[in-house]
């Protein structure tokens, strides 16, 4: 994990922190600024549910943060509010110490990468990348030679040095997205925002670009926020992950934190595979269908709960106090045998590694080495 990883209290740390990491400063490097949103509320079309219901989040300088959530959770809206493409109904946006809520999008100095690239189709790759530089007011606009040098540098950075004179229509999806990133980086933004940057690409290209984005981030050090609905992408790329659901942030934390210590049932089931069993806790036991299935931990609440289990914490076998389930499917794979088991009290089957041969319809007992409970209601 890179130094940018920061639990929320580290935000108070001096800004030099992100710069301190060793970096081959080959290209545009500018310390990213802290981004903070405070109580953002955004509603579309009057009566509908709010897209964002009071979201607060602080992103450390130089951090790579993922906004993860299902579609309609408000993650893209939040990104667009930070960019200045949406005006929030309430709440403030800060870049460093400056309140940028009312700064128009043209002067926020953010880089933005769109899901569908949004390249200018009638301009060459070169002109696309140079667009931001050419758009500056006269006093800050670099000369033609400088623009050439900078675009050349960026083309090298995104590994497309030979495509300067092509049109976007002549590029593959992965190449287009790299041009879009170069275009966003050209204006040396202190904050880089990416909206589902790999969403429209096929699996292999996604994988390559992911790794490559990580490297670019290491090299340029911008504060980077990207939106994704793909948990693998978030877990692999991000220093920290903010998980959104229905316009609220459910949890913010490092990948291992959200995975191992989910703050809510939603986070538990959204990040990583989960089996959910309806249960009751009474007298130090977890009861499923009137049977004691598990010893309750002391800090677990009494009453009706959802018992959440990771499939890899389940093993078949054991005695009385166990979860029961029915084998739905059993198959051999290259890595062993797997049974698809529907646990009693659950409505979707889980895949559990097994050693014995099972037949469809077999009743089995399972032990859980770890479990989490969330009050039901």
């Amino acid at each position: 994990m890179v130094a940018g990883f920061a639990p929320s209290d580290a935000l108070a740390a001096p800004r030099g922190r992100a710069e301190a990491e060793p970096v081959a400063a080959r290209t545009v490097r500018k310390p990213g600024s802290e981004v903070r949103v405070d109580g953002i509320v955004k509603t579309f079309s009057g009566d509908g549910p709010a897209a964002l219901e009071g979201v607060s989040l602080a992103i450390a300088p130089g951090e790579l943060l993922a906004l993860l959530g299902p579609s309609g959770s408000g993650k893209t809206t939040l990104l667009r509010v930070i960019a200045g493409l949406e005006i929030p109904d309430a709440g403030r946006v800060f870049f460093g110490a400056t309140d940028t809520t009312d700064v128009p999008v043209q002067r926020r100095g953010v880089g933005f990468v769109f899901q569908h690239y949004a390249l200018f189709r009638h301009l060459t790759v070169f002109e696309n990348i140079a667009y931001g530089l050419r758009s500056r007011e006269r006093s800050r606009r670099p000369g033609e030679a400088e623009i050439r040098r900078r675009v050349g540098q960026l083309l090298d950075l995104v590994q497309l040095p030979t495509l300067a004179s092509r049109y976007p229509g002549q590029l593959s999806g992965g190449q287009r997205q790299r041009v879009a990133l170069a275009r966003a980086l050209a204006v040396e933004p202190s904050v880089l925002l990416l909206d589902e940057p790999f969403g429209a690409l096929d699996a292999q290209v996604r994988k390559d670009l992911r790794r490559w984005l990580r490297e670019i981030h290491r090299e340029t050090g911008q504060t980077t926020v990207f939106v994704t609905h793909d948990q693998d992408e978030a877990l692999e790329l991000a220093d920290r992950i903010a998980i959104l659901n229905r316009g609220r942030i459910e949890q913010v934390g490092a990948p291992h934190e959200v995975q191992d210590d989910p703050a809510s049932r939603f986070v538990m089931s959204f990040v990583g595979e989960t089996a959910r069993v309806a249960a009751d806790i009474a007298g130090g036991q977890v009861w499923v269908d009137g049977r004691a299935a598990l010893r309750a931990r002391e800090d677990w609440p009494e009453g009706p709960v959802d018992l959440c289990l990771r499939p890899w914490h389940l093993t078949v076998g054991g005695d009385e106090a166990a979860l029961l389930g029915t084998v739905r499917e059993w198959r051999r794979t290259a890595r062993g045998t797997v049974a698809e088991i529907l646990l009693d009290g659950s409505d979707s089957p889980v895949e559990v590694k097994v050693t014995d041969v099972h037949r469809k319809g077999d009743r089995v007992a399972l032990q859980a080495s770890e479990a989490r409970v969330f009050p039901r209601g």
Partner: protein
């Protein structure tokens, strides 16, 4: 195919240049045959007859007719004003299409429907309306005349009529393209720091150019051939506000059929030349701006 080649059988037309590229989808012969037959019956044969009649005049006779000062003045009026009208339509059509597509406001659908009215209205009705409106004591004519601007019965009146009949072309051709504009490329331009004016000039308008040119060409073609609406508002003074189509009618009324066909043939050639030029520009701009 490759199987046949392996067996040493002649592969049919493998290297021969073909009339059309081979396609797996059937239907070429049928549609092409229909297209040619229809085009011949409706366009090519009548035009050929026209050219044949005109050619009876001989090159020198034709030249004399064309360079006749009254004919020349009429042709100039027709083509000059048609170009001007098409240019005005292109600008205002783009603006109207933009407003109708990009914004929702009460009465938008009504205005959208109104745009097509110049198509439906009998051209004579339009001409009489415009003449009444712009004449010295009309609603618009009176205040304009007070400002020293005479519209009805002058070339300006012709221009107004031609702008009126050509407008729908320029709105309808650009409207679908404006609807298709990718909002995110506008947003990208803004995020990159481009002012609204710069975004408009460099990102939004260039892709619309081919469609604007199509509208321009259609409005121009319509304006050159327009007769009904113009003659009521033009005043029809020889050398000043007389259009070529009117001159053709005058010649016909004088039973001067060769004279009429000669002017018609010249108009035809000039229109064809102008439309061809516009099409070539359009093709160029499509290659330049239309990369998808």
């Amino acid at each position: 195919m490759s199987g046949a080649a392996a067996l040493g059988l002649p592969v049919r037309a493998a290297s021969r240049r073909r009339f059309r590229r081979p396609s797996a989808m059937p239907g070429f012969r049928l549609t092409f045959g229909f297209a040619v037959a229809y085009l011949s019956l409706i366009v090519l044969i009548p035009l050929a007859v026209l050219l044949l009649r005109a050619s009876a005049l001989g090159p020198s006779g034709l030249w004399d007719l064309v360079t006749d000062s009254r004919n020349l003045a009429a042709l100039k009026t027709s083509f000059g004003l048609s170009l001007a009208a098409a240019a005005i339509d292109a600008v205002f059509g783009l603006l109207i299409a933009w407003v109708l597509t990009r914004y929702t406001f009460p009465g938008r659908r009504l205005i959208d429907a109104l745009v097509d009215l110049p198509f439906a209205l009998p051209t004579a009705v339009a001409g009489i309306c415009l003449a009444t409106l712009y004449s010295g004591n009309g609603w618009l004519g009176a205040p304009l005349e007070a400002l020293g601007l005479k519209v009805a019965y002058t070339p300006l009146g012709i221009l107004v009529a031609l702008v009126f009949v050509g407008l729908p072309f320029c709105v309808r051709t650009v409207q679908p393209l404006i609807a298709e504009i990718d909002r995110s490329s506008e947003e990208a331009a803004a995020i990159l720091g481009a002012s609204r004016a710069r975004a408009l000039a460099t990102v939004i308008l260039p892709p619309l150019i081919p469609a604007v040119l199509t509208g321009f060409a259609l409005a121009f073609a319509r304006a050159v051939g327009e007769y009904g609406s113009v003659i009521f508002v033009a005043g029809n003074l020889p050398y000043v506000s007389e259009i070529a189509p009117l001159l053709i009618v005058i010649k016909l009324e004088e039973f001067n059929y060769t004279g009429a066909t000669a002017i018609a043939a010249v108009m035809l050639l000039m229109s064809f030349g102008a439309l061809l030029a516009i099409n070539l520009i359009q093709d160029f701009s499509r290659r330049r701006f239309g990369h998808v």
